[in-house]
């Protein structure tokens, strides 16, 4: 129960911290979504209830912080969580190569989703961003994700094996 009570606060601090840190390093030219890597990690190791709600809360708060349409990231994070769960149940998901590749794919899909939203809802074509920003972003996230997985696995609260 405590997990659900403290989750919104810690998720908010985590996301704000992520935004600030990344702005310091990348100066707004690129972003590394550690929160997305966390959601993938949760998909691999957490049970559906805890992980699903964590993904939803992270996504919802990210919507609020970035100023995007509420529900976009909430929907995407929840989807990524359950896809990660399904994938991890069917393949050997412990390998560094697989973690990197899967993260790379998820970041690219997010880029595609954002591009489509801009195209069809805001009427702005930012498709060039897919190659100029999201592709390098996906590569960086893919390369760094195994290290983040090792880091996250140190937190016992994120390694709930109750149901999975």
């Amino acid at each position: 129960m405590m997990f659900y009570l403290v989750l919104p606060f810690f998720a908010l601090v985590f996301l704000v911290f992520q935004t600030m840190i990344l702005d310091l390093f990348f100066l707004g030219k690129m972003s590394l979504e550690i929160s997305l890597i966390l959601v993938i990690f949760a998909g691999f190791y957490m049970d559906a209830m805890r992980g699903g709600i964590m993904a939803f809360v992270l996504g919802f708060l990210l919507d609020c912080i970035t100023g995007s349409i509420t529900g976009v990231f909430a929907f995407y994070y929840v989807s990524v969580f359950f896809v990660s769960r399904i994938v991890s149940n069917r393949v050997y998901a412990e390998s560094v190569f697989f973690i990197g590749l899967f993260t790379f794919f998820c970041v690219l899909c997010e880029g595609l989703l954002v591009t489509l939203i801009y195209r069809f809802i805001h009427g702005v074509d930012i498709s060039f961003h897919l190659f100029r920003v999201y592709l390098p972003q996906a590569i960086v996230a893919g390369v760094l994700s195994p290290a983040f997985f090792t880091f996250f696995s140190r937190f016992e609260v994120l390694r709930d094996v109750g149901e999975s």
Binding site: L12, V13, V16, F17, T19, M20, L22, D23, L24, L27, G28, K29, M30, S31, A48, M49, G52, I53, A55, F56, G59, F60, L61, D63, C64, I65, T66, G67, S68, I69, T70, G71, V72, A74, F75, V78, S79, F82, R85, V114, Y118, I121, H122, V124, I126, H129, V133, Y134, Q137, E163
Partner: protein, 274 residues
Amino acid sequence: MFFPKKYHAVTIASILIVLSLVILSFNLKRPDEVGFVRKLVMEVAAPIESLITGTFEGIRGVWKRYIFLVGVEDENRSLKKKVDSLTNEIIRYREAYLESIRLKEHLSLRESRRMPMVSARVVGKENSSIFKTILINKGTADGMKAGLAVISVEGVVGRIVESSWNVSRVLLAIDYNSNIDAMIQGTRSQGILQGGGAMGCNLKYVERSEEVKVGDAVLTSGMGGIFPKGLLIGTVVSVDRKDSGLFQKIEVMPAVYFSRLEEVSVILPEEKPL
């Protein structure tokens, strides 16, 4: 828990996905409405962002000011404490001095423009590759609402897109979603200035026949009803007429250095006489 264990994960997945889709479709239908939870998140996030930004600025300052002094010669060590305290004092004075200059400039901006304005402090930044927004410490309680123009001493900053009670989010002019009616100062040719992310802005829909030069000032045209006419937005950095089509490709460097923004002014709608 409440459902058969066999369908536990599927049920939770369905509930969460449907919930997020409901929220998404609700917000797509009412893009101008800021929900209570979103307002609450903005209110809570602003002080956290402010605190983290302050901490980082502090660490950065300490790094710049002190770390490089570690290797000074022995005779300087005895003076270190004195230098430190004097440096701190100077920094405090300098900070106060710079702040007074900025505030004075804001005041003169308000007086020169003869427009009702509210000054606000930047308390948070969202500077990812796609989203370019800032949070300011004024909300609906101070008369803020979506659509109000935000400027600084240097020029146009952007417009407010959502407000909670004490905090507002400003969509910067460089955000892809930002469109500002603009004109070239010399030729008076009009176009739409669209944000281009980290690359600055693009002035669209200026006919190929118009003579636009690098270095020309780009001002607000006053056409959209959000920004008053004649505010500086930036300067032209490149003009490309090579592409076929009716319009030329103009890149604009904003006058405002967004990552250094600390104070801004929000232009309030003028009260119309009865």
